[in-house]
Amino acid sequence: MTSSTPGPSPSPPPRPRLDAATVSALQAALAAEHAAVWAYGLIAAYLPVERAEAVADAVATHRARRDATERLLTDAGVGPVTAEPAYRVPEPVDGPADAQRLAVTAETDTAQTWRSAIERSSLRQVRAAALEALTGAAVRAARWRAAAGDETVTVPFPGKP
């Protein structure tokens, strides 16, 4: 800058402000998205080829959500949480039925963090993204339960802990 007037250094480009509650909710959702991406890697290995497209769609959606959430945090000057090297699965995965149950778990976990983000953030942009993520997770969970032959495939309040 060549301005001759002394004063504070030029201000950086304006950053979207994220309040503390929003940041903490987004970090939790991002952590769940990292876990979901990891889980689908394991799920893919155990599902028959006719489920490959559903797995690919789910992975692509969770990756896109992860990347968008990372960008939102980074743009606000916040360091996004990173993925763990590996995750503990609630039950050992040793076949298609276990893999489908793990998919339901991954979707249920992300749904909870996104519903929580809606409750904790009043930012319109965050709520809109969180609602889309929650809805997608609820739809995929229902489809996985249907694929597993469960009698009840929906829950009345997806994302409710």
Partner: protein, 143 residues
């Protein structure tokens, strides 16, 4: 200030009715959807299980929304959700048409709940977001 009192009383007498809660139409729609889904479930064997599941979840939605309405306003306005018609709605005899009607009802319910999510206080927004997501999940698994 004795003269002031009657004027003030006269003012407060003119009570404006409280604005309707934006959750009232959500509760009414949930009740109507539950009835529609139950009727479709009875009339169309191939839709019976899916429609019965819709009916159960929409009843749960109505109960949760009514609980929230009661929490905010313990004595409901006369035009409240309790005044829904008790009769069964007519449903198409054609199964594809009945399926279409159920899907359209779920889509409308999802949209209605999603609209409230934008501006509602946190806990309400969470409840309505779950309702929207549930309706979307039912639509995705309709046979």
């Amino acid at each position: 200030m004795l003269l002031g009192a009657p004027a003030l009383a006269a003012c407060t007498d003119r009570q404006t009715p409280p604005a309707p809660d934006p959750l009232e139409p959500v509760a009414r729609r949930a009740v109507a959807d539950a009835r529609l889904a139950a009727t479709i479930s009875n009339a169309h064997p191939s839709l019976a299980a899916a429609a019965a599941a819709v009916a159960a979840d929409r009843r749960a939605h109505a109960a949760a929304v009514r609980a929230e309405l009661r929490r905010v306003r313990p004595t409901p306005a006369p035009s409240s959700v309790a005044a829904a018609p008790p009769s069964s709605p007519p449903v198409p005899t054609d199964t594809a048409a009945a399926r279409g009607e159920l899907a359209a009802a779920l889509r409308a319910a999802q949209g209605q709940a999603a609209t409230v999510v934008e501006s509602a206080p946190g806990h309400r927004a969470g409840l309505l977001a779950s309702i929207a997501a549930c309706c979307a999940s039912h639509r995705a698994v309709l046979p």
